[in-house]
Symmetry: C2
Subunit: 104 residues, 2 copies
């Protein structure tokens, strides 16, 4: 039984099927997950825009989902995807393109 948080969301780690690079961390609600299963393309819930979105619906940078995994606690998901174009809105392939050097 998947555990959605108090906002009805579950975090989704997104990994490139070929390079195994971690591309992004996003959130899904039940509808986004259902749409992902139905269509084979990654859907998420945008916390800022408060709506369901298909990744790449505007940019064309869609993610075909090869497999979905769930973690031991059933409170996190892993989408293993074929990324079209780039994953990050900055133009970088992965959203995790910067090294963190320290904390203040």
């Amino acid at each position: 039984m998947l555990k959605f948080n108090e906002d009805g969301l579950i975090p989704v780690v997104v990994q490139d099927a070929k390079t195994k690079e971690v591309l992004m961390l996003a959130y899904a609600n039940k509808e986004a997950l259902r749409k992902t299963f139905e269509t084979g393309f990654a859907h998420y819930f945008s916390r800022s825009r408060k709506k369901l979105w298909m990744k790449g619906e505007e940019s064309g940078n869609v993610q075909r989902v090869i497999e979905i995994r769930v973690d031991c606690d059933e409170d996190a998901l892993l989408y293993i995807v074929e990324q079209k174009g780039v994953a990050c809105h900055t133009g970088n392939y992965s959203c995790f393109f910067r090294k963190l050097e320290g904390i203040k």
Copy 2:
């Protein structure tokens, strides 16, 4: 500037430096992140036990952190680690050991 959520936490994707497998998703507060930088070993904040913990402090399955990356929105981290033993308390190497076949 890192964005911690209303509970003072930031999600951390943990990836194996050698295999590139995604091992787990955990949460850090500022102190956990500081300890991680100071010691070179992955520290997190346990939401269930409400305390800072060093991964492997009891099991011995520590994670030496090779690199920390931050995402474009600065609200998620990626620890790239050398995993000693296994990452999952179930005995599996990764917490994401199960495929999700559908949603009800």
